[in-house]
């Protein structure tokens, strides 16, 4: 029995995603008039339930291609694991309810957010210099 528990524990450890230690922030461009987004708005935007914020602005959202950061954001903002999110997004895609956000590298995400005042993305706080922080975790 002990061996079975040990094997199960090892399997769980092997398949789990390590927690990301850095603080995450959600950012908009320096010229954006978005000042604050609530956790509920972020959840709706990233789950494709809405495409606008509380002031009716239509926003474009971006994901990071870094697995650990994305997993951390998923737990903090969406209260989901990455595995749950993948299953949810499969449902969205194949029922015509929306496409998942584009996944970008940190530099590309910063560039796109800077160039589009209606775009948001999440980053480790130390990479958010010069950008408008609209939510901190």
């Amino acid at each position: 029995m002990k061996t079975a528990y040990a094997l199960l524990s090892l399997l769980l450890l092997a398949t789990s995603v390590p927690a990301f230690a850095e603080q995450l922030v959600v950012v908009a461009g320096p010229d954006s008039d978005i000042s604050r987004l609530s956790i509920e708005e972020l959840s709706d935007l990233y789950l494709g339930k809405r495409s606008t914020d509380h002031e009716g602005r239509q926003l474009t959202v971006y994901d990071l291609d870094d697995l650990a950061v994305r997993s951390d954001f998923c737990r903090s903002a969406l209260s989901m694991s990455l595995l749950q999110l993948r299953a949810y997004r499969a449902k969205q895609v194949f029922t015509g309810r929306g496409r998942p956000p584009r996944q970008l590298a940190v530099e590309e995400l910063i560039e796109r957010v800077k160039n589009n005042p209606q775009a948001i993305g999440y980053l480790p706080r130390d990479r958010a210099g010069g950008l408008t922080i609209v939510h901190s975790f």
Binding site: L12, K49, S51, Q84, R86, K91, F94, T95, G96
Partner: protein
């Protein structure tokens, strides 16, 4: 359209090998997207006296079968402009020893009139139940096999053509959505003309934190004609009959679905009911309850589901052959009642791929056949393993 199964599966796996994750292939950047999903499933019963068949006449019996559950879905999305897009989705299912039938399940033009209003015109899977729309996308579901008592009531008439409007209501704290669909379906099965028109349905969904609730009601005027059906209807429709046996009537569908999901727990409940005056068609009540626990990349779950017939009073107003036919129809309907207790596990082995296993203990009353071809001797155990993917 029929294509060779090995070629199709081989092509999809070649595409999967080139994939880097769960994102779509962008065939033209920001314009043309390709996605695929599918299931490779193996199932077996512990009884050699019964068979479970699906709509493609693929069966599960006491020999392991891969043909019942295996399928491949392909989707192309083309964004014409910011507000306009065109989507096609085909589903390939096995219909012979080495061949697949490719059927168009979705083909529509989508228009975002405002951020709150989306309109779709074309073909869709009619969204009668909570997971109707993604019923073939195994990867998006917790189970290796969705509850037979609820989703086994769907049939080959699961798509219809028409208009679908989705309106996001301006509510705060909760997300509320109203969907309205007006569609029609015409088909021919074994010399019988089938017409459902106009199908009119309204669904209201509310999401609050981890909880999603969906209420749906739909009206489906149905008409069946041809073959021996018309003479059968003439035989049964007599002034002395206790019940009506019209082939043209209106089915009403009702659905309540609840889903709760957080980082640790999963809960799903679905209750369906359909009502109709004509005794020619079955009235059904069915429900399923699922409870699951997440642990890392694993989900373990238990599911209970039950189906009962509602219009089951014997026909005493007819005599002779008409009485025999009517009561035979009613008795067969009653014998379809069954319930299932299931236990299963899902392992998300890699991005976009889940491996699942499920044991179903199917209970039917002695002498009833449930969902099988004939009455089994005792309760039936069904075992399913599957690999589901979505990219």
């Amino acid at each position: 359209m029929t294509t060779h199964g090995r070629f199709l599966i081989g092509w999809v796996f070649l595409m999967l090998l080139q994939s880097s994750g769960a994102q779509a292939w962008e065939l033209i950047e920001d314009r043309l997207f390709f996605n695929t999903y599918g299931t490779l499933g193996l199932a077996v019963l512990d009884h050699d006296d019964v068979v479970l068949a699906n709509i493609q006449n693929q069966t599960i019996d006491d020999q392991p079968s891969a043909s019942f559950d295996s399928r491949v879905g392909l989707q192309l999305d083309y964004r014409v402009a910011d507000e306009w897009s065109i989507t096609w989705q085909g589903l390939a299912t096995k219909d012979g020893p080495s061949s697949y039938t490719l059927e168009t399940k979705w083909a529509y033009l989508s228009y975002d009139a405002t951020p709150w209003l989306n309109l779709r015109l074309g073909r869709f899977i009619t969204p009668l139940y909570q997971i109707s729309e993604q019923r073939y996308v195994g990867y998006s579901q917790p189970w290796a096999r969705p509850p037979l008592e609820v989703y086994g009531n769907e049939n080959q008439f699961d798509v219809s053509d028409g208009l679908w409007a989705k309106l996001i209501l301006p509510t705060t704290r909760v997300t509320s959505v109203i969907e309205v669909f007006v569609t029609r379906l015409e088909d021919e099965v074994a010399d019988i003309d089938v017409e459902l028109s106009p199908i009119v349905g309204v669904a209201f969904s509310v999401s609050y934190q981890h909880l999603d609730v969906r209420l749906m009601s739909a009206r489906l005027p149905i008409s069946l004609h041809g073959g021996t059906l018309d003479s059968l209807a003439n035989l049964l429709q007599q002034p002395t009959a206790d019940h009506r046996y019209d082939l043209d009537d209106t089915l009403w569908y009702y659905d309540l679905g609840l889903q709760y999901s957080d980082l640790k727990w999963l809960g799903m409940v679905e209750y369906i009911q359909n009502r109709v005056d004509s005794y020619y068609y079955p009235e059904i009540e069915a429900y399923s309850v699922t409870a699951g626990r997440y642990a890392g990349a694993f989900l373990v779950y238990a599911v209970y589901s039950r189906r009962v017939s509602l219009n089951n009073n014997a026909e005493n107003g007819l005599t002779g052959g008409a009485s025999v036919v009517a009561n035979g129809l009613i008795a067969d309907r009653n014998s379809r009642d069954q319930s299932t207790i299931g236990l299963g596990a899902r392992w998300d082995a890699m991005a976009g791929v889940a491996i699942k296993g499920q044991w179903d203990h199917i209970q039917v009353k002695p002498g009833d056949r449930g969902g099988f071809d004939q009455a089994p001797h005792g309760h039936v155990n069904m075992f399913t393993v599957s690999v589901d993917w979505a990219f």
